[in-house]
Every structure is written in structure tokens, then in C-alpha cells.
Symmetry: C2
Subunit: 394 residues, 2 copies
């Protein structure tokens, strides 16, 4: 079988591999997920909305639609980008995508030639990095601290990297660390990148799941030069199985994404785009999001409380204001991937943090998910994990 050269660069997700390793041990308490809690989907409302859709426009929902996306959904998103993100946009700025993952893939295809440099936060979402790999970029990481991307490091990398083509960032409650950039960092970031001919892909699946502190403006709202490709999604606030997400970008970028998508999969799912519209038109998604926020806040607080109680003091951790993850930093001599087998044997699973680095990352970090675990399991699981750490972290 002679595959194309690009297939040598395509890697299977290390995270999905870990999840398979965990799935083979039933009964394990898993902090390894990266999913919304299915118990929170507004199933009754979605069922009503779907019934109405089938009764009123069933044949349309089963038909082909437009590559750009379903018209009424696009119009709702123009309004939503304004109301929620302070972004003034029109239909010409939008294209519907099959999850933000497709927005990442389209961005990589639109901007990355072989040998170009893609800059990402260290660490970053693996799926964003993997979406670029087929096109052969070089990856460069920029350091992060408590306030987000470190601007001095970004400036250095941009200065030293003439082929820097795209910067991939997740300013809100990043996967994997849960960190959010401060307002100052956001402003400074846009000042810096506006001096370069470089595209910014702003991935914002978690922005609406802020459960502490104040909403901060997205990069797109400060974008005066059309550099930012904003990726929004209903996956974390409504349902990931419907695969409804969107790109908001400069008109020429949105149009190019549409043209490219025509060859990639012709169009998104007409049925679930219309389901989403029927849901949004009649039900209160804002109340639903507040319910998600409160539930996740309680789980996050409980996990932080238990961590403080059971983990050795040498384990550092983030204190997220939203999203789905807490990030652990073990003492430097520990290897989280090696410890995972021992943790699984003890009954607890997590994702080693090293998999979230484009190049090589430190071995002593861990991503912990709190959205899909019950209070009981958080209490039990953190104690077990604390005991594993204590054995090694003396």
C-alpha cells in the first residue's frame, strides 16, 4: 500500500490510546475524560424541538443544504457573537463546521505549507496540533504561566521565526491546564501579533463555561486586521454528538473555508443544524448554561478541596475559573505516564500531561477532568490518587 508522504506525519491521538488503556479496566474512577456530563444535556427540550422539526420541516431537515451552513443558524450566530462575545460580524464572516475540530483542520489547510511554523501554547490541545500535522509544519511552543501565554517568549519566537504562519491559542480555560489568559495578556497579544503577517486561530469551546470571576473579551473582539479565526462550538454548552460549530473570520477566510469544505464533506449535517435552531429559538440556553456552570463549579471546588486534603504538598495544581480541567505538576523526578499503570491498578485514571506538548514536554504533569465524575467518586478517587503520589513524592 503506497500511502502519500503526508501520512507519515499523521499520528493517532496519544490521549485516545490512554483512554483505550483505561477502558480495558472496568470500575476505574476516571479523571481522564474530556467530555461534558451527558446527564446535563437538556434532553426533554431537545426531544420537543426535534419533534417539532420533524413535524414542521422534516423533509427539509433530511435534504441537502448549503456548504456554508443552514441560514437561520448563521443568523442566530451573528446575534450570538455580538451578544456574548462583543464581536460585530455578518453572514459573510461565518461558516458552519462539523465540530471545532473541522475548524482547526480547515485553518491548517488554508494557511500551512510544508515547513511553515505553527506556534502553540506549551502545553496545548493535542487535537489542534494533530489537525496541522498532515500539512508538514514545524511546531514551536511558547511558554505559559498563571496569566496565560508569556508575551516575552512569544515576542522572542516571532522575532526568531521568519516562517511563523499561524498561532493556535485557547485563551479561555485551556485544555489541558484550565488556565484563562488575563485581560492584559489578551490586549498585549493582539498588539504584538498585529505587527506580523500571521494568522491567529482562537479556539473557544470553553469560554461560556466560566463559573468564577468575570467574563473577559475574546481575541476576535480586539481584532482590527482580520487576523483572528475564531472557533465557536455548541459541543460543550449543548451537545457534542450534534457536531455543530462555527468559524468567525474575515470574509475572505470564511469564503475560502466554505470552498474548501465543499471538497472535504460538502456540508454539515442539515438535520442537527436545524435541531439546534429549533432548540435555540424556543428554549433558554442561557439558563441551561448557568446550570452547567453551577454543576461544574461544585465538582471543581470539591476536587480542589480533596486535592488540598490528600495530595502531598509537593504536588502543585491550577485553580480554574471555568472549563473542565485541573492541571497537576508533580515533583520533577516523577513520571506521570509511568505512574499511570500503578494508579489504574489502584482504581484511578488520568491523562499524563506530556501528550499535550507539540514537541517534547515535561514528564511530571497530569490533566484531571472534573465534569464527568460524581461527588462520591471525586472524594474516593482523589484519596486513592493522593496515596499513589505519597508513595513516590516523599
Amino acid at each position: 500500500m503506497s500511502f502519500s508522504l503526508r501520512m507519515d506525519r499523521v499520528k493517532a491521538s496519544a490521549i485516545r490510546a490512554v483512554q483505550k488503556r483505561i477502558a480495558s479496566k472496568p470500575g476505574v474512577i476516571s479523571f481522564a475524560a474530556g467530555l461534558p456530563d451527558p446527564a446535563l444535556y437538556p434532553l426533554a427540550d431537545i426531544t420537543e424541538a426535534t419533534d417539532r422539526l420533524l413535524a414542521q420541516e422534516g423533509r427539509k431537515a433530511l435534504s441537502y443544504g448549503l456548504t456554508k451552513g443552514y441560514g437561520p443558524l448563521l443568523e442566530l450566530l451573528v446575534q450570538r457573537m455580538k451578544d456574548k462575545e462583543g464581536v460585530e460580524c455578518g453572514l459573510e464572516n461565518l461558516t458552519i463546521t462539523s465540530g471545532s475540530q473541522q475548524g482547526l483542520a480547515l485553518s491548517a489547510m488554508m494557511f500551512v505549507d510544508e515547513g511553515d511554523v505553527v506556534i502553540a501554547e506549551n502545553p496545548s490541545y493535542l487535537g489542534g496540533i494533530n489537525a496541522c500535522r498532515p500539512y508538514g509544519p514545524v511546531f514551536m511552543g511558547v511558554d505559559t504561566d498563571e496569566d496565560g501565554m508569556v508575551m516575552e517568549d512569544l515576542e522572542r519566537v516571532l522575532r526568531e521565526t521568519p516562517r511563523a504562519k499561524m498561532i493556535y491559542v485557547i485563551p479561555n480555560f485551556q485544555n489541558p491546564t484550565g488556565k484563562a489568559w488575563t485581560l492584559e495578556r489578551r490586549k498585549r497579544f493582539m498588539e504584538i501579533v498585529s505587527q506580523y503577517d500571521i494568522m491567529v486561530v482562537e479556539d473557544n469551546p470553553y469560554g461560556e463555561i466560566r463559573f468564577k470571576g468575570e467574563h473577559l473579551p475574546c481575541l476576535k473582539s480586539m481584532d482590527t486586521k482580520g487576523q483572528v479565526v475564531y472557533l465557536g462550538s455548541f459541543s460543550k454548552i449543548l451537545s457534542p454528538g450534534l457536531r455543530v460549530a462555527w468559524i468567525c473570520a474575515a470574509p475572505e477566510v470564511a469564503a475560502m473555508a466554505e470552498r474548501l469544505k465543499e471538497g472535504m464533506d460538502l456540508q454539515c449535517n442539515e438535520f442537527t443544524q436545524m435541531m439546534t435552531v429549533y432548540y435555540l429559538q424556543k428554549y433558554d440556553i442561557e439558563a441551561h448554561i448557568r446550570h452547567i456552570q453551577a454543576t461544574y463549579k461544585a465538582r471543581c471546588d470539591l476536587m480542589l478541596e480533596q486535592i488540598a486534603k490528600h495530595f502531598p504538598a509537593s504536588v502543585k495544581y491550577t485553580n480554574p475559573e471555568g472549563g473542565m480541567f485541573i492541571w497537576l505538576e508533580l515533583p520533577e523526578n516523577l513520571n506521570a505516564d509511568e505512574l499511570l499503570d500503578e494508579a489504574i491498578d489502584a482504581g484511578v485514571a488520568y491523562i499524563p500531561g506530556e501528550f499535550f506538548y507539540a514537541n517534547n514536554g515535561p514528564k511530571n504533569t497530569i490533566r484531571m477532568n472534573f465534569t464527568t465524575v460524581s461527588d462520591e467518586d471525586i472524594i474516593k478517587g482523589i484519596e486513592i490518587l493522593g496515596n499513589v503520589f505519597k508513595k513516590h513524592a516523599q
Copy 2:
């Protein structure tokens, strides 16, 4: 905006452009579509199936699933490939795709490097050709006659083209001509390609819409070397809006497609995959397909009868045994694209055939669709079109 070099190669579909030109003139009888008739969707059964899905497994349907596809759907497809196509395959051969268009895009990504040669029938489905364009292949056309691809021409092209990497074919009721390959051609094709290190992409969206003659085996069923990537779809036999299709290929190809898809869009729509399973498990899709066949046969027969009555004898046309299209060949001095404005002004639209050639095609051909037009409009529209042709074809 600095797009990647590959974006210079991405073309918007000429067909969608024609369809926009037509849509701006309301009231025109359109033979330009390429869609199933929405009136034929089994809406009542799909509604029942969806209700059951939401009641029984609603939260699962709204959740993330596997990149490879929904397990029970994959199992149904193993059985369907055996029953309907005589292909013995297992789960390891399958990957679910978002329409066959995504199967085409994945195939192009998996096999085509810049400068490789992609061979297609002359004419062929534009979306298949456009799916390859971002990866920079050279296209070569192989002639077709009433029996399908001309084998002498294929042999010549393969002999003369060392970088031939992929052959894209639609052996059943091809879009745009409606032609089906004879059994002899299918056998000979597989004999020839088995002597080369080349991949075959067999696109079969129309295979089950045979309304005359006998079922003929697909190329995949004669594939002894794992060369054929078979693309199947529910778009034409159930609903295109659900975007449920599949790849059936050698295990290493199916696995590579899955890995690539993880970066492209993570997974197909979980909700509509499950809807499809709920529909297939309880309702008789075979009876539904027979209903589609009978309806399309009647429309095709009526169109052929009206063509015989109203078109000048110098206009040649195909006599399809299935699918959705009739192909017209006007006298050589006529230009179908130039005539289209006159036809639209007279009240009828079609797609000029020249857009279905990878390189340059003849200007005197036309694709006519009969699946979405009422009997009344067929009778009226063919007479109008006949009058346009008569004015120029004397």
C-alpha cells in the same frame, strides 16, 4: 491574507455556480439538480425511529462517540456489504464518513502527493475531482463509451503514466452520464489494475437505484489485492441531510482513514448515525428502495419518451438503467453553456456537461436530472428545451 499554496488549486464548484444562476430566476423548471426527491424520504418511519432513539438512548446520541463510527451501524454495514454487494468484510475494513464526499477527501489525502496522477472517467463527478485538487495532482481522463470506461484507453494511460496513483470511478449510473459499466468491463478493469501499484476509489452512491436490468457486482467484490476503496452512502437511498456514508477498504486503509479523520473532524454525527440504525433495525429499507426505483423509473421513462418526441434527431442521449441522470450530446457546433441563458429565459435549466471534465471537455453535452421533477414539468420542460434546441440544431 497569506493563504497556503494549496488554496490556489481549490476551485469552487462550477455546478453550484450554475445552480445559483438558476435559483435567481424563480419559476424555472430545473433539470439541473443532483438530489433525491425529498417527497420520497420515509418521513413517518424516520420520525418514529427518532422518537424511539430519544426515548431510549437520547443522552448517548447527544454525546461524543468513536472516530471509526457507531458500533451497531458498522455491524449492520458488514452485513449489508455481504448481502447487497457480495463483499465479505469485517469491522476492520470499515470507517464511517460524513457523506461519500468525505470518503473522497480522505482517499485523496491518503494517496495523492503533489504531482501524482489521478485518473478519472471522462466525464466524471466534479466533487470527486475537486476533493483531490488541494493535494496538487495532475488529472488524466480515460474515455468512456456505452459500456463504461474504455479499457484500451485505460491500458494506454497506465502504460504511459509512471506516477499514476489513484483511479476514481463510478461504475453504476455515473454522475453525470447515468451509464453503468458492463460485467465484462468490470472484470477486465480489475485484471488490468491488479498489474499496477495503484489505488482504485469506487464511488457507488447510485448502485442500489437500479430500475432496469440486472444487478452487477461492484469492483470491490472482485478485489483480491486490497486495491479498491469502496464508498457507500445512505444519501440517495435514505436521506442526504443525515450525512451517513462509509468506506470499505483494506484494513490498513480503513485504519489510516480513521486516524486522519480524527484530525479532520474527530467523528461523524453520533445522533444521525444512531437514527440510521434505529431506522434500519425496525423498518424495511428494501421496500423503500423499491419504491424509489419505481418512482425514478417512471420519471426516467417519461423523460426519454418526451425527448424522443420533442428533441431534434441530431441530439443524442443515454438510456440509463438506474440512477438520477440522462446525458445529452448536442450537435458539435452547439455550446451548452452559451445556450443555458436562452434556456433559462424560456423557462428551463440544466447543467452544461463540460464542467464534469477534469481537464477540458467538449462544449456540446448536458446533464439532465429526472428525480426531482414532476411529470407535468417533465412534459412541459422537455418541450420547451426541444424548441430551444430546434432553433439552433437545424
